[in-house]
């Protein structure tokens, strides 16, 4: 459960000019784009794996996952390393995004229930819309959006 408290910090990032945000407590680090090793028989949004200090990090292409058109990498493209799932073993996953913006503070009153479009009508995936001042960021719940099990089901079906 990602209930925002008094004022929480959120990392904002862009995908196809849309602004998204995720609670910083879930963000471990931000990496530059590295060559990805594609794993055979994996769905299109599993972009591949990279070497993160001796461990294998799976990388999800957020654009493909959200049904956006694929686009070539730019110098701003990077990988956000997030921790998924609570409990004993939080998993690490990398998320490929177009660019990373700043970290903002959002209080509870800055967040409205989601009135998203398209895929983001599903309020399960989107915690709410955060008012950044000059824009709105769709706040994502990484556990839901990037959950392994759901991905696995999707993968098996494809």
């Amino acid at each position: 459960m990602n209930l925002p408290q008094q004022a929480d910090s959120y990392l904002t990032f862009t995908l196809d000019a849309a602004l998204f945000a995720v609670n910083v407590t879930r963000v471990l680090e931000i990496l530059e784009i590295k060559p990805l090793v594609k794993v055979p028989m994996s769905p299109a949004f599993m972009r591949g794996v990279i070497n993160l200090r001796g461990n294998i990090l799976p990388v999800i292409d957020a654009r493909i996952k959200f049904g956006m058109a694929d686009a070539p990498f730019t110098i701003d493209s990077c990988i956000i390393v997030m921790g998924i799932g609570a409990g004993k073993d939080p998993m690490l996953v990398g998320v490929l995004v177009d660019s990373v913006r700043e970290v903002i503070e959002l209080r509870e009153e800055d967040i409205q229930p989601s009135a998203g479009i398209g895929a983001f009508c599903n309020s399960e995936l989107v915690v709410g819309m955060g008012n950044t001042g000059d824009n709105f960021a769709m706040i994502l719940d990484p556990d839901k959006v990037f959950a392994a099990d759901e991905l696995v089901i999707l993968a098996a079906a494809s």
């Binding site: 060559p35 090793v37 594609k38 028989m41 070497n51 799976p58 998993m91």
Partner: protein, 550 residues
Amino acid sequence: MNPFEAKYTSEALELLADLEKLMLLLETHPDDAALVQQVFRNLHTLKGNSAMMGFRSITDFTHHLEAIYELVRAGKLKVSAAIINITLASLDHLSILLNGDKQIGDNNKHIHEILTNDIVTIINYSNDEGREPEPVALEGQSISKGEPLTIITDDAALYKRKPSIPGIRVPVERLDTMMSLVTELITLQAKLNVLTSEHPQPDLVAAAESLEKISTRIRDNAFSMCMVPVENMVTPFHRMVRDLAAELHKEIDFITEGTETELDKNIMEGLQDPLMHLLRNSIDHGIEEPALRQQNGKPRHGRIVLKAYCAGAHVYLEIQDDGKGMNIEKIRRTAIKNGLIEESDVMSDKELQQLVFVPGFSTADQITETSGRGVGMDVVRRRIADIKGQVSIHSTENEGTTVIIQLPITLSIIDGLLVKVNGADYVIPLSAVDICHEVSSVQLMNGFVQVLMIGGEAIPYINLQEELEGVYAAPQSHEIVIVHYGEKKIGLLVDIIAGKFQAVLKPLGRYFNHLDIVSGATILGDGNIALVLDTNKVIAQSLNKKIKAI
């Protein structure tokens, strides 16, 4: 907590485990003086250790138990079913005490008193010239005065009780740390190799080679330390088979073979539960009641065999019973009822049998507490998949059922062949490889069935460039890696073979759990990632595609 308590507890539990083993042997060899002496020794040691720690209740309880065996030693008592049962119950009670706070409290006071009374009763009876005492009913257990259960082991070693080989006890955490360090060493050594090849100097190259040789030896040595014989996990099985069979009024011989076969200790831990479950299945649903067996011309005693052996890069465990087997029609009907297959689906008997591993399947008429509910077999398969193993079931109605578990020998480091396919790096486990060859494009005879002539043999081959993803380039020449596929040999066409490599296997993670052609990944000396292929799965997949394309 007394700093020695941990040591005391671990030694005490070992003594109990040994005692349990001895009791099961004593049951079929009640007059073996050496066994009795060993039981007495263990109890005496346990008593002494407990006294030193000041655990009064355990000391006194063990003292009573020891007294029984002192009387047996002196010829004043004979080992009887009652004594064995009470001793086993006492061992259980002690085990619970040891794993807890070592004190008698409200929850174990009752059983403690009952057991103590029973033991004292037996001791007192011995004063009546060795008359066998009446078996006393222990709470929760039923005493069967019928035929004793026979537990035979095929391993002469178990009975002969090898003289204790000198060894030292090492905490498991230290072994784990060592394995971690060894894998880091291997990774670093691979990196050194890459650097050395970039800056070759004779002395450096020679030193790097020597380092590689020593690292390999350290690795193998470290692994062998973490390998444990299957024998070590077998005693609770004997116990469970004995107790459950008695409870269900069935007569069962439980035989173990090949238990000197060794397994990585982590793999072994993952096997305990699934094996227990499979054994319960055999006892509960497999072996029929003695009368029914006799009616069907089978011997009264059912037979369950647990067999372990090595073949190729795998260790196999089989559980074989000669019970009533699986009814194919029943499986088919249940599968249809539960929506697993359609009425119209055509499946071989073998395929139907594997359906029992699918979640939500159960044909047991009564969901028995021991092994019903249909949650059993799919969990078994998942637990075995967790340790990178596979399970299959083979059954003939009225003759019996065999469950075969295939396991990797070790989970962490493998010797591999580094290859490139479509520009990407892959590792093929050396254990699967037969031989490698260079092949020119001219040699590839293109037809429906791709076959190569190598050394006079016709070897079918698969083009990995087509099977795996990546940018297809059409090189002038390929190399071919010939691997074992069951009893056959199949060639795998790759761009280039880059050499041998010690791969530290890293799991890909839960995101790729469904994937079977890739069993993991490894980090190369230059930091790149190579995917480790499961050649059996790659070949199976390719064959399936071809068949479907017909």
